[in-house]
């Protein structure tokens, strides 16, 4: 459903992503793993329309089979096409309530019923958020904020959900919970692009994985396969 070919991202003189190609099939969980500064965020931010200086082809295939090129499209176009992202560091609006944060996630939708339905769906996945619905986002715990970030991305009803380091700063038990929910969301039919430093957790749930080093893909394959790969084990799984 998403085809990335020869993606390059620059920040001034820094060449952050080099000739990245990857392909994400409908219904899959695909993960992009790599160390700090490898260029993972830059890559998915390019897909989301947040990066200004990039080159390459990003093609999105809609359920009806029509393909659209995402070159130069602003984030609103992506959201309307069905691509949503939960950014690195959660980026919850601290002064807005949980419910307002969620409503913001549904900004491109106009049907009140659909928004209400998505809200119910999000609260179903994350019952904690329902309890906290009128609390300010900034008062949530780190784990709750992460759940809110995922829930907010779901509010636009995306087909492709991109998650940038959802495990960041979470205790192991919470990581397991969040990854369980990611699988659940995937089982309900959404495609997932997961960017992670926590390679073990990511590879365990991924159908397909790409390893990024200094901006370039150095390895790719099925999640389970990479989990056994000696190079991956050494570099990312602590031997």
């Amino acid at each position: 459903m998403l085809e990335i070919k020869g993606l390059n991202v620059w920040y001034g003189g820094i060449h952050a992503v080099r000739d990245l190609s990857m392909s994400i099939g409908r219904g899959e969980i695909v993960t992009l793993i790599g160390a700090n500064g490898a260029g993972k965020s830059s890559a998915i931010r390019a897909v989301a329309g947040l990066v200004r200086d990039w080159k390459g082809e990003i093609t999105f295939t809609k359920p009806d089979g029509n393909s659209v090129s995402l070159a130069g499209c602003p984030p609103e176009t992506m959201v309307k096409l069905g691509i949503a992202m939960s950014p690195e560091g959660r980026r919850i609006l601290p002064h807005l309530t949980v419910e307002e944060n969620l409503t913001l996630g549904a900004f491109t939708r106009s049907s009140k019923d659909e928004i209400e339905e998505s809200m119910e769906y999000a609260y179903g996945l994350f019952p904690k958020l329902r309890e906290r619905r009128s609390q300010k986002g900034g008062t949530l715990s780190g784990g709750e904020q992460q759940m809110l970030a995922v829930a907010r991305a779901l509010m636009s009803g995306p087909e492709l959900l991109m998650l940038d380091e959802p495990s960041l700063g979470l205790a192991p038990i919470l990581v397991a919970e969040v990854f369980g929910i990611i699988r659940e969301i995937n089982r309900q039919g959404r495609t997932i692009l997961l960017v992670e430093q926590n390679a073990y957790a990511a590879l365990k749930i991924a159908n397909k994985a790409y390893v990024l080093e200094s901006g370039a893909v150095t390895l790719s394959g099925a999640g389970a396969e990479l989990l056994e790969n000696p190079r991956v084990r050494e570099a990312y799984l602590g031997g």
Binding site: P74, P75, E76, V79, K80, H95, L96, E100, T103
Partner: protein, 301 residues
């Protein structure tokens, strides 16, 4: 020093203060909203206020439109001008260092003022007040004209409408979100430029309404009439807490109150009238730099 004011006189001054203060407040809201979102002091805001006054002058005096229609045209005209300022002077600089936009703001303000001198001439022109608004009546011993009641009434109604929009609608939600984190707001599918334009439109419309009421109170218009009220309104916005809409209104009312009352109690100070705003500014910066209702503004991420 004449400190023996009668109650009636006091009431009259009070109403006067609320009227003037609510006008400062209306202008201050435009500064505070734009600053809240872009961290930009829109120096041209006082000029939009002036344009609103001129447009109503031309619509009603020159083209003899009925007042209601004239006011609507003037507000629409000034709003379009406010949008153009954003589009031409600020939007191309959205990703430039903040100082560039600030310099552009000063430039566009000079431009509007001087263009107005060329187009409207520098001569002050008298505004004809609708007789209906000036027919004096008295409540108790307080003598009033309807305009004195109408000005704060309209101001407060507009602020109520604005608060509803900002706190109860989706574009309002986007505005509040942009002021904290533009990028995340974009990521949610918000067309940020459109919301910023809406902010300028709302601020300009309020400034135009203020300009029109100002022109009715002090019945004349001139190209530089926006400078001093604009400056004071900006101070009112800082005093109330920049970024806060209720704060801007409160700041405006405080300034109106201080200006009118100090002269009422100490007529000999009337020559220093324009200095009170600065005294308020210095006081608040010493005591509570974030302003009366301001929250701490972190720098934009």
């Amino acid at each position: 020093m004449g400190i023996n004011l009668s109650f009636d006189m006091f009431m009259q001054h009070l109403i006067n203060a609320v009227g003037l203060g609510s006008l400062y407040g209306l202008i201050a809201i435009g500064y505070t909203m734009v600053y809240g979102i872009l961290r930009l002091i829109n120096f041209a805001h006082g000029d939009i206020f002036m344009l609103g006054a001129y447009f109503v002058f031309f619509a009603t005096v020159r083209y003899k439109l009925p007042w209601v229609l004239g006011v609507l045209t003037a507000v629409a005209g000034a709003t379009v001008c406010g949008l153009l300022v954003d589009r031409i002077a600020y939007r191309p600089l959205r990703n430039a260092p903040r100082i560039s936009a600030l310099i552009s703001a000063i430039g566009v303000s000079f431009f509007i003022e001087n263009l107005s001198v060329v187009v409207f001439s520098g001569m002050p022109r008298p505004v004809v007040q609708p007789p209906l608004l000036m027919k004096a009546f008295s409540i108790g011993g307080v003598r009033l004209v309807p305009l004195a009641i109408l000005v704060p009434a309209i101001s407060f109604a507009m602020v109520a409408g604005l608060l509803w929009l900002v706190y109860r609608t989706k574009p309002g939600l986007a505005m509040r979100s942009i002021s904290h984190d533009i990028e995340t707001t974009r990521l949610m599918g918000v067309s940020v430029d459109r919301i910023i334009a809406l902010t300028f439109a709302l601020g300009s419309a309020l400034a135009a309404v203020a300009g029109i009421m100002w022109a009715l109170r002090y019945p004349r218009v001139e190209p530089f009439m926006g400078i001093v009220p604009g400056f004071k309104a900006f101070i009112a916005a800082v005093f109330g807490g920049i970024g806060s809409i209720p704060g801007a209104m409160l700041g405006g009312l405080s300034l109106g109150f201080v200006e009118i009352m100090s002269i009422a109690f100490f007529p000999r100070l009337s020559g220093y009238r324009d200095a009170f705003a600065f005294i308020l500014l210095i006081l608040i910066l010493l005591v509570k730099p974030t302003g009366l209702m301001g929250e701490k503004l972190e720098d934009k991420i």
